[in-house]
């Protein structure tokens, strides 16, 4: 579960993601006026960047960097995974 780029073209350079991320995932490219998802392995999937993104250039994907360990089985069970992704897809 992490932030991912929906479309870099839609990034308007507002820097919201850089400002709101508590996990230091983003950097900003001044020359290109675009944010950069620099360290997604530290993303905690809180979604603050996603809902605050003014250009709607970001999304949240259900691929996970880590699990609550007891639930690994659930994460790899296809119907469950589909359920989670279905909720995201509807946004």
């Amino acid at each position: 579960m992490s932030v991912a780029r929906y479309d870099l073209n839609k990034c308007i350079g507002c820097k919201s993601c850089v400002t709101v991320c508590p996990m230091d995932v983003f950097r900003f490219d001044n020359a290109a006026n675009k944010s950069v998802i620099a360290y997604p392995e530290n993303c905690q999937s809180c979604g603050q960047c996603y809902v605050n993104c003014l250009g709607r250039a970001l999304t949240i994907v259900n691929d996970m960097y880590g699990y609550a360990l007891t639930s690994y089985r659930a994460a790899t069970t296809v119907p469950m995974n589909r359920k989670a992704q279905a909720v995201i897809d509807r946004t």
Binding site: V3, C46, Y67, A75
Partner: protein, 654 residues
């Protein structure tokens, strides 16, 4: 896609894998997102190279009161100090309002005499529910001041009430109660002017408070037992940041090892680490918060918290009455402790994701709203949205019980004053031994109000002190020393990746026998592993960037927290609230109506002490066991030779 991965070739280990999986996952998304086939083709999903970050224009500050941490406690402390006419600087590891736990409360609670709240009932409930470790003097402070706190936050716009997602139409009202989706971005855009997180920086600006964001404080500098400021670094650029100050309020929050469902990852015990190494006693470490997450989407904090984040803060209170004081506390114990203990221990089968809580079906007091029926009452409790229900343990392993963990300031302290001149601690994870004691019997919304109340007190006290104090600047050699410590991981040539170390630590600490159902054997086995990581891994953590430096330092703090919590758990040879020992499965009033403090001694070891709580907080000791305690852990009654209760659902019994 190939380009995206090769760009990242220099990023070690997990980062490369992460980039690859993120891109792969995107392939499944466009159908739902794309407005047309053309858009699908033209979308750019690759990232630009990671750019160099500029150092901030200002790197050296000087002020009367430095507040570290921009959450509820820090904001209130900074505002109170500025209101006293002192110059105030705030340093935040993220950005005020969006960092730590401050973006995440769902609700806000206060006591209101005018609305008919029965303060004796409230006292009775918290004393019983905190299992007699609740600091009743601090609770009196809250009873007196919580309404003013509510009014202050309301006036700042943080408690703005607006349409809930359901009322607004942005919620997906498909009729399927298991479907809590909708247009998150649309809802946020429509009500952006009410977003409480934007109000934090606005309050700071209004009051002329300077702030340095994205700056991690690595040490508070103390000379001759007097505080002189703090040193840290601007994480994106690595620039060293110093702030000379007459007084310091540490409002740096708690932490967890790895956030997998509850988004508390920004706080990593930074303040606790600094305070412990300054020689201050740490307490409350044996009480772990058992936050649950979703078995069908583990590690997914957004699904767990999306509408909670976007909806207005629900106003709560007035739900505890003379008739319900004890049953309220008992229910909280059953739901927040026992139900989670039994689910964790039995290994709940995977659910299908239909477990949702529909608030609209609940009684108003069950939602945390007022029973008073006064016309003017605004405390209506949780909103009408449905929420996914976490069904497995592990959302934030290592996260301490609210308001119980942190620096122990003595039994008579009412403002977070430490034994170091000019140094205060405030907020969740920083100021130990709050009113909530061994559990959290207060109902939702207590923390955001309580830490704001205490932040206000600490800020006021620090300002009063600073008004009569001289500034002692941080000596240059101390800044050099801190700079070397910050930069050290960058020159480790062969060593360990902090991301690997974090995941390793999480693996060691997350089995249920470490924090949920403890025993001497499991705690000692875990401690051996932690000591190994402390001695063999931490000194060899390697950084390739200042982002990594932050991760390396955070790991150091997390390892200390693990050691503190394991040693405290070993010392408390009884069961109480959020501390369950399978080898001592009962409350032991004779030996453990106390706090357990851990203090760094001159040899670098940990001194562990028991500090008995005040007699008047202990309740009626002549009362029989089953009246004094009204929910029971597995094998508790059996061990004590008392008649067993019949198990109901997940509560009690096996």
């Amino acid at each position: 896609m190939a380009k995206s991965i090769s760009r990242r070739d220099f990023i070690k280990g997990m980062a490369g894998i992460g980039a690859a999986s993120a891109v792969t996952a995107l392939a499944g998304i466009p159908v739902a997102h794309a407005e047309s086939e053309t858009e699908l083709v033209e979308r750019v999903t690759t990232e630009l190279p990671i750019p160099e970050a500029e150092a901030p224009a200002k790197t050296e500050y000087e002020c009367d009161v430095l507040v570290i941490g921009g959450g509820f406690a820090g904001l209130n402390a900074a505002a109170a100090a500025a209101d006293q006419g002192q110059s105030v600087v705030m340093i935040d590891k993220g950005h005020p309002g969006y960092s730590g736990l401050s973006p995440w409360p769902s609700s806000h609670r206060w006591a209101d005499k005018e609305m008919g709240d029965d303060y004796d009932a409230l006292r009775k409930c918290i004393q019983h529910g905190s299992e007699y470790l609740g600091n009743m003097d601090l609770y009196e402070v809250w009873l007196e001041e919580s309404k003013a706190t509510y009014e202050r936050l309301r006036d700042w716009g943080i408690l703005d009430q607006y349409e809930t997602a359901k009322e607004s139409g942005f919620y997906n009202d498909s009729g399927d109660p298991a479907d809590c989706s909708g247009d998150y971005q649309g809802y946020h855009e429509k009500f952006y002017q009410h977003d409480r997180r934007t109000k934090f920086a606005a309050v700071l600006r209004d009051k002329g408070i300077e702030y340095a964001d994205y700056t991690m404080v690595t040490n508070v500098i103390v000379e001759n037992n007097k505080v002189c400021g703090a040193v840290g670094f601007h994480v994106p650029s690595g620039a060293i940041i110093t702030c000379h100050a007459k007084a310091v309020v540490m409002a740096m929050g708690g932490g967890c090892y790895k956030p997998t469902g509850f988004p508390t990852g920004g706080v990593t015990f930074d303040g606790e680490y600094i305070a412990y190494n300054l020689g201050l006693p740490i307490a409350g470490k044996e009480f772990d918060d058992f936050h649950m997450t979703l078995s069908w989407a583990p590690g997914n904090a957004f699904l767990n918290n999306n509408w909670t984040y976007l909806d207005p803060l629900w106003l709560c209170g007035g739900d505890i009455t003379a008739d319900t004081a004890i049953s309220y506390a008992t229910t909280k114990g059953k739901v927040m402790v026992l139900d989670r203990v039994t689910k964790s221990m039995t290994g709940l089968a995977v659910t299908d994701g239909t477990g949702v809580e529909d608030m609209s079906q609940q009684d108003v007091t069950r939602r945390g709203g007022s029973a008073s029926e006064n016309p003017g009452e605004v405390r209506t409790g949780k909103c009408n949205d449905t929420m996914y229900k976490g069904d497995i343990y592990g959302a934030a392993v290592g996260f301490g019980a609210h308001l119980t963990n942190g620096v122990f300031c003595g039994l008579d302290d009412l403002e977070g004053k430490t034994s170091i001149e000019g140094l205060w601690v405030s907020g969740d994870g920083m100021q130990a031994c709050g009113p909530t004691g061994a559990a959290y019997p207060t109902g939702v919304g207590f923390t955001s109000n309580y830490v704001s109340t205490m932040g206000n007190r600490a800020g006021k006290a620090a300002a009063e002190y600073a008004a009569g104090a001289e500034l002692t600047k941080i000596p240059a050699e101390r800044i050099e020393e801190e700079t070397e410590k910050i930069q050290a991981p960058l020159s480790v040539e062969k060593g360990f990746d902090p991301t690997w170390a974090r995941d390793q630590l999480h693996s060691i600490m997350s089995p249920y026998w470490v924090y949920i159902a403890k025993s001497k054997a499991t705690l000692e086995a875990t401690l051996t592993q932690i000591e190994y990581m402390r001695d063999r891994v931490i000194p060899k953590l390697q950084a390739a960037s200042y982002h990594d430096v932050r991760m390396c330092l955070e790991m150091q703090h997390k390892i200390l927290n693990a050691e503190l919590s394991l040693r405290a758990s070993l010392a408390r040879e009884e069961t109480r609230g959020l501390h369950f020992r399978t080898d001592f499965p009962y409350r032991d009033d004779e030996n453990f109506l106390c706090y357990i403090t851990l203090t760094k001694n001159a040899e670098g070891g940990m001194d562990i002490e028991k500090v008995p709580v005040k007699d008047e907080w202990k309740g009626d000791l002549t009362e029989d066991y089953k009246s004094r305690y009204t929910y029971y852990f597995p094998k508790e009654l059996e061990t004590l030779g008392l008649p067993a209760e019949e198990a109901t659902g997940g509560w009690g019994g096996k």
